[in-house]
Structures are given as structure tokens and as C-alpha cells.
Symmetry: C2
Subunit: 120 residues, 2 copies
DNA sequence: TCAATGTCTCAAGAGTTGTTGAATAAATGA
DNA sequence: TCATTTATTCAACAACTCTTGAGACATTGA
């Protein structure tokens, strides 16, 4: 993740519909969802509007797509999300570890019950 | 951190100058830096331009300011950054813990040498 | 009090972004 | 082949964002 990619990702996430799509896909898991189903979840947004936002997200690298019959399935690009988090907090510890451990703890909290390798 | 705050924070981070300011302040530590010094670090951006971006960042909650004599000192709002990371990845584990542990690991990597409470 | 320093505010203009509706394209099944 | 379903592309327009330059405000030291 370089600055250019991070800027594109943050721009993608700074729009209400797109942020909701990303969060929906994050919880939907690796299998993803077809564009139509995502559109319905966005209080029935028009197809051209969905297409605009989905392609914006795909170009930013935050989601991936694949065709399945007539549908196009979109899914969260988890490595890109990890990379963005890492980019944002990179160098946060330069002499001040107390500053970023809360961020780690907050993020780790959602994984703790499942696995305990957060410090790997 | 709610959706509105997250949108504002992502919008703030989606602009090159502002992203650089945030990363500069993150590494600068809690003491922060005066506006003028930040401007010099942004290849000498004009004072009105810096003021525009700094107040944008302050409104989004990502940085804080305080006056010190003639200078105004800006510093990173670390809790807001933690909150944003947490918001972005919230619910990432719903049945798929393998999906977010890389993000935790990436973030924890920068803290590991200092402290080992990343799983707290 | 006055000049200098550091920063903010404001208005104007160029550029960018998001929505809409109509048209297009790809895949499927009758 | 033809109608249907699913999704994309395009042009136009309104709304928003960023930069610039001029001016104003707050603080300090002479």
C-alpha cells in the first residue's frame, strides 16, 4: 500500500453509499454478494448508481468482482483493508508505543474470542 | 465513532496534503507541531491553504489544536484514529476470523517490539 | 503604541464528484 | 431466435472541494 493507493481507498470510503457497501461486504464474508442484492440493501439504489459506486470501489482495490451467470459478485478485498490500516498507523510507534496500542487492542478485540495470535 | 464521524474522517484522509499532515503528526507524537512548521514540511504550502486543511482535519476530529503564544500547535488525535480503525473493521469476524487477523497482525507489528499486550 | 510574526477568514474561479435517465451489452431459458 | 434478467456505459447537470490572493486578527517585543 503506497500513498496513491491509500488516497484512492480513503476517497472511496468517504462516500456514504460506498462506505456502507464495504461494511456490508466485510460482514458478508469472502463469498461476496451479487450487485443486485447489494443495491437492494442500499435502500434500492438505482442500478447505474450502484454500478458507479461498485466500479469506484473496485478501482480503489477495496472490493473484487467475478461474474457468475448473469450476476456479478462483489466481495471485500480483505488484504487491501489490512494494508490500509497498516498504512494509516505506520510509524505510530516512533518513540510512543502507548499511542497505538489502543488501536491494536480495539481491532484485536473482535478477533480475540476466535483466535489469540493477534501479536503474530 | 459513528458513520457520520467515519465519513468525515475518511473524507479528511482522502486528500493528499491532509493525509501527509496526519501521518506527519502521528510520527510527531503527542506534543504536536506548530502550523508553520507543518506548512514547511508540506513543500512550503501557503498559510491559507494550510489553515484550510488543518481546520478540515480538526473538524473531522483527527487532529487537535492549542495556542502557544503566536503559534497554534496541532497534534494527532490518537483515540480518533483508533476509533476509525475499529469502525472500519467492526464485524469483520462474523464467522470469518481468518479474515481480519492479518489486519491485526499488520497493525500490531509496529508495537510488538515495545509491548506485548496487543491481545488485551 | 507600533511593527513584526504567525495564523485565520473570505470571495472567486477552476476542477472534481454524484445523480439521473436513456441506451447498451452479456447471459439465460423458452 | 427472442424476450427477459442483470448489470454497465454515457451525457448532462447540480453540488461540492481546493487553490489563490488579499485582508484581518491575535500575540509578542521594542
Amino acid at each position: 500500500m503506497d500513498e496513491k493507493q491509500a488516497l484512492s481507498a480513503f476517497a472511496a470510503l468517504s462516500q456514504e453509499t460506498r462506505l456502507r457497501i464495504v461494511r456490508l461486504l466485510v460482514t458478508a464474508g469472502p463469498e461476496g454478494m451479487p450487485a443486485g442484492a447489494i443495491g437492494e440493501a442500499m435502500d434500492g439504489a438505482s442500478s447505474s448508481r450502484m454500478s458507479f459506486h461498485l466500479s469506484h470501489l473496485e478501482q480503489s482495490g477495496l472490493v473484487a468482482s467475478r461474474r457468475d451467470g448473469r450476476s456479478i459478485i462483489y466481495s471485500a478485498a480483505y488484504p487491501a483493508l489490512s494494508g490500509l490500516v497498516e498504512f494509516l498507523m505506520r510509524d505510530c510507534c516512533q518513540g510512543h508505543p502507548e499511542v497505538c496500542t489502543p488501536a491494536v487492542a480495539a481491532l484485536a478485540a473482535c478477533c480475540v474470542s476466535a483466535k489469540d495470535n493477534a501479536h503474530a
